[in-house]
Subunit: 183 residues, 2 copies
């Protein structure tokens, strides 16, 4: 049996909480793992039919609006458990902005500053979004005593990284000013 890829495994992970249609899965993935894992609707349907062939999920009765709920099978649960207990794959590192900087000698005058300003703004927005979300989690956690640690942990990862990005943007002018930093 072919081993799972991270995207397929994530869908199985989401299906542990109960049957979901392809559409539901896209929504759930966006909400639960969308901050650090992207998948498209197209991929979801592809993985679902593949996993159906492999017996990892099974199709339920078609509901209203052609809704087709998938549920995880025992084989699916087994495959998922194997996958999750393996070593996580290496992080993907793909930062187009750093390519722009690497080759910034070829930029039109003023263009670098323009790009940096725009990029900094999107990072600042993301940070705000994460902080607001984390704040809501903590608030509800205090109210009902059931803090969603897992969600909070992944959010904190995003927060740390966005803070790092902003700090970097802010030290950039100094780096480019030509003064060798004291050691």
């Amino acid at each position: 049996m072919r081993s799972l890829n991270a995207t397929a495994a994530s869908l199985l992970g989401l299906l542990h909480d109960g049957p979901l249609s392809g559409w539901d899965l896209v929504e759930a993935a966006q909400a639960r793992i969308g901050n650090y894992w992207t998948l498209t609707q197209s991929q979801v349907y592809r993985e679902l039919s593949r996993m159906t062939d492999d017996g990892l999920v099974a199709l339920g009765e078609t509901g209203p609006r052609e809704r087709k709920p998938y549920r995880i099978t025992d084989a699916g649960r087994a495959a998922f458990t194997t996958w999750i207990n393996g070593d996580p794959a290496r992080e993907q590192i793909r930062v187009p902005l750093l390519l722009t900087i690497q080759f910034s000698a070829h930029l039109a005058p003023g263009r670098l500053e323009e790009i940096l300003t725009a990029e900094r703004a999107t990072h600042a927005e993301r940070l705000e979004k994460y902080r607001a979300h984390a704040g809501r989690l903590e608030l509800y956690g205090e109210l009902d005593g059931k803090l969603d640690h897992v969600r909070l942990a992944t959010l904190r990862f995003g927060i740390r990284h966005e803070e790092a990005a902003l700090a970097w943007f802010d030290e950039l002018p100094e780096l480019f000013s030509g003064t060798t930093p004291p050691r």
Copy 2:
């Protein structure tokens, strides 16, 4: 004319400094942009033959060991300039470890700690590597007065992010301990 992808554009960027063979390009890419952009040897040869067809690079005389130097053409330079002046693409966010955490309820006992320890170590190693590299750059910069700002800037990005990662690893136990952090 089809527009460039970031990988092809990077190769053109590297070719601005003079003709390079496919092999050279793999090495150069690894050294210059490998910290935040991955490409395989296979991709390099594919992009080179595509760009040759499109007239963006041209093949020189075969040298020793079947060495085939490619040089950038005027069309290549034009395509590159257009590409680099465009908005950088969105960052890729793919963090398998966060999937592991999201679904950590399904981990075998003790497995989460094991994984976190291993992951933290690889981040710590990367941080050390980046710091050492940045230190060398700064040292040479002081000696000959020509500090490589661009290289240093991209390294600092990596350093900031690895520091963020380590700080996150270190706050994790507290997050999981169940105490709602004070606001």
